[in-house]
Symmetry: C2
Subunit: 574 residues, 2 copies
């Protein structure tokens, strides 16, 4: 009783039904060459995830259904059983899996548990399925689940194992990356496997989609919850595993706790015959290694940049190089993602720019092997000052003049983007985005904010990590050591307006990522007035974040669709 | 059997629990002076609507519960029964109504039907209530519903009338304005009233909250579905009505269709005694007139601007005056909302600006009585051209140079905002926002986009209407007649790149507001290639809209949180 399963960890694209079907067919070919009997693709692999409001359009739903039918028709000669995610559209609209065999859609399983929190809005789009499903493939009984279905103990898995006698559970997922998530998934699925003494095949999406990046890391656990097979992280992969079910089935039958639950839960059974020809010789599967959190985060950022740029039809990117740590890290990530020939660094010195900054920026550019341009902003700055002279009269210089400079830089980068078709990358970090220490339409200008979800203290850690990804360090040592500054007036440093980043980030992490109340944060040793002033800055910069470029979610609470706060808001926590 | 009911149509503010309670108490005073026996406030009147992710914070939930308790304590000496909306937070989190009498919270009703479409995300925040509630106030039986509860026939109203013998239904709402909505509400509620032969008291929120504007228009229908009382639109109001229930009760008992439904639906009954002392002389209620759709739209925009500016702590606004219809309309609306002393118009002529444009802008400013400033952009434009000369070499001028000018203007407006604390208003219309005919960080720069949801053809209609709101027309005749142009190069007009606005808007309305497929639009008489090219422009400018300022929803499908599309999107409808 052996079944050879393929996990088709693909990078599907939202709305690209034709491309996705073609990709799936290429995986089918490769799987067939390897005698795979059951080939599983991620959640909504046909139309990409998340399709958002495209699902509200009739023509989109129809195009997605036609794509599944076309996929089925293209596999009439295939013995293997295919499982693909699509939007089922009949009496209602469902997040579903189609089970395809020899050119026919043999069954459709509809997701039962719909996530509607964080970045997820599935109640907006889908009706709930209410029918657990077990495939009886030549005697092997396979239960279906989709993503969130397996995250709650009350999901369909129980009915499938107890009511439907499933000996194996499939989960197709589109689970976005965040720090630590790959481990959490394996732990949770491991417990579910042990609960019912069944192996679980977990196939995840890979690839960047706007704010989200899916990390792949598909895996298989045996009936004891042990990971016996794991796909690569942050790239496409076809993972093949031979699952031996005898031992698992016996273990399930002998599991005494299982008998405490009544075996009457309703479950649909669909028979598929003639799919399994036992493979002649067994193969050894792969268990790709797990990495440290920070390594994963870096991989996530690289893949997110690559996919955002490529999927949106761009070749090259441009960003301002200030000689500071944020733009240095962003440029390095872009270079790792796209290659040095596709990254343009622009130095835009002003009267306040230090020689060190210019040297560091040029050194970075040289180390990365990217083209750098130097475009001084002095002439434009002077022109603005003269233009506004009469109206500003004798009023003292203030943030107005600082923002002017930042916006001149934004304008120059956008002009380069317009003229040469380069996508502008935004180098702002999460600490700045949190407290609004950034200029709207200035340093915030651009199409994609790479490190928007990385606190400043982590920026340094990532920069260190990045340096080790090149033959020799690319970010100059001095960049790590000099005090952070926007260089928008003489002698400026970030710490004039902000507490030290170690303190700021700790407070922000508790307040934003963990929703902690002020009392809790104060109890951690921070001054109440300081905490309140930080929280006030966060609230008062909501309007800036609303107009910020999208960036990559890597934390448990990213700015963007995961954090939806009103701009007009009179609430101040006490 | 008469009950005097007050509808407290207040403008509550999100997160402003103290302010909201104070306001409610002022209404309680006024209602008491008028011998009101039951005083009803809108949905979530304690914490404002929609509180969005504030509801995910423990301290917010607690502050909101404390506010209800404080409100109760402040009314221990009051005979009237109060109904206020708040977030109930016990075993779970609910969108709820507190029924308060003589200082005690006598009952809590929890919303049963949660909207999770369009601009609504209530499944993200709230658990569903499952207990219909009828108050027995000295023998008068009053059923409770919250907003969406009454929009579905399966809501709690049925159980309250049939199971709970309710003779009167209360609905507390936060129903955002869109064109035609006030009439739709009254029709729907009228049918519900007739279905069960009970009067319905519908109390709606009023006021602007970011993208939403609540229009008020609270009303009461009798048991035949006829509107017998209506509050004002777009302003606060205390509407008082004496409801005679004898006839309604008899009509209900004699309604034969009611007897087709089993009267066993479960319903909680809460007794409140000593609240009703019959009023000595009856009062005549008001039925404020309904207006035409366009008048309502204008009122919506005016209130939205006023509330966004004031609730966010601004006094004055600034915007660029191009002499075109969009900025003329926006400036006029701002003047109606804030008064001429609080509106600053900035002319920013370039080498391409015509004398007519300057004259028209100045005439508008003079007619509105607002201060105008003239700040030529030539010097800054020249400086940018020189700064970029070496890099752009002999490349021909293109949209790059056009965008440069728009962004210089954006930079100037933001500088004025920074220096003087004026909020920048964005004058872009929905046609431009749809097809991306606008410059990111240029004419799109600013805090609030007043006419973002108004198609260009409607801009003209609204401009005509606005002209009639002033003693004499403020927008010069010529502005209506000259061809629209951005004046970013010699002889430019919008129609070089876009189809005529009558055609464009018709296509956009079908595609965006109504989700029509291409075949349908072609069938309406438009060329397929033209339709496809328009749709392509809509898709390709998603990235711009993602960074656009919030604006006022007045259509059935506004950009912003109502329309959530991926930027990375390979779907092109066929």
């Amino acid at each position: 009783m052996v079944i050879r399963i393929g996990l088709g960890q693909i990078n599907s694209i939202v709305g690209g039904m034709d491309e996705n079907v073609e990709k799936i067919l290429r995986y089918v070919e490769e799987a067939e060459e390897n005698n795979v009997q059951l080939l599983v693709f991620p959640e909504l692999s046909i139309c990409g995830y998340p399709p958002e409001d495209l699902v509200l359009r009739l023509d989109f739903l129809q195009a997605n259904v036609r794509a599944v039918e076309r996929l089925a028709q293209s596999t009439t000669q295939k013995d293997l059983v295919l499982i693909v995610g699509f939007v089922d559209f009949k009496d209602d609209v469902y997040n579903a899996a189609a089970i395809i065999h020899r050119g026919r859609i043999k069954a459709v399983y509809r997701k039962s548990i719909l996530p509607n929190y964080g970045v997820f809005d599935e109640f907006r789009y889908f009706a709930r399925g209410h029918k657990p499903l077990v495939l009886n493939v030549d005697g092997i009984r396979i239960g279906l689940t989709i993503c969130e279905d397996i995250w709650v103990p009350e999901g369909p898995m129980s009915a499938e194992v107890i009511g439907g006698s499933a000996n194996l559970i499939i989960n197709i997922s589109a689970s976005p990356f965040e720090t630590g998530k790959p481990r959490v998934r394996e732990e949770m699925v491991g417990v579910r496997a042990r609960d019912y003494r069944v192996p679980v095949v977990y196939t995840n999406l890979v690839g960047g989609q706007d704010e989200l990046v899916f990390d792949g890391h598909s895996f298989v656990v045996d009936h004891t919850g042990k990971v016996i097979s794991r796909a690569r992280g942050f790239e496409e992969d076809l993972l093949i595993v031979d699952l031996h079910l005898e031992e698992a089935v016996l273990a399930k039958l002998h599991e005494p706790r299982r008998r405490q639950v009544e075996g009457t839960q309703e479950c649909e059974i669909v028979d598929i015959e003639g799919a399994l020809k036992p493979p002649e010789d067994l193969i050894k599967t792969r268990v790709e290694p797990l990495k440290d959190d920070l390594d994963w985060t870096l991989e996530a950022l690289i893949l997110a940049v690559k996919d955002y740029v490529r999927k949106n039809g761009f070749q090259k990117v441009v960003l301002g190089l200030s000689g500071g740590i944020d733009s240095s890290l962003t440029a390095s990530i872009a270079t790792l993602a796209l290659g040095p020939e596709n990254v343009k660094g622009v130095l835009m010195p002003s009267r306040y720019t230090s020689k060190e900054s210019i040297d560091d920026a040029l050194a970075l550019g040289k180390n990365l092997g990217i083209q750098t341009l130097t475009i001084p902003i002095e002439k434009a700055f002077q022109a603005f000052l003269e233009t506004l002279e009469e109206i500003f009269k004798d009023l003292p210089h203030d943030t107005t003049e600082e923002n002017l400079q930042a916006r001149i830089r934004g304008n120059i980068l956008m002009a380069l983007s317009n003229k040469f078709g380069w996508l502008v990358l935004v180098p702002g970090n999460k600490s700045e985005m949190s407290v609004g220490y950034a200029t709207l339409y200035g340093d915030m200008a651009g199409g994609f904010a790479v490190i928007k979800d990385i606190y400043k203290t982590d920026v340094y850690k990532l920069a260190n990590l990045v340096n080790r990804r090149f033959p020799k360090p690319v970010i100059p040592e001095r960049v790590f050591k000099k005090p952070p500054t926007a260089e928008l007036r003489p002698g400026q440093t970030d710490q004039e307006k902000l507490p030290p980043y170690e303190i700021l980030d700790d407070i922000l992490r508790m307040y934003i990522d963990e929703d902690k109340p002020i009392d809790f944060i104060v109890n951690e040793g921070y001054d109440r007035d300081l905490v309140k002033s930080v929280i006030k800055m966060v609230k008062n910069s909501e309007y800036k974040r609303r107009q910020a470029a999208p960036g990559v979610k890597v934390s448990p609470r990213a700015f963007g669709k995961e954090r939806r706060l009103p701009i007009t808001n009179h609430y101040d926590p006490e």
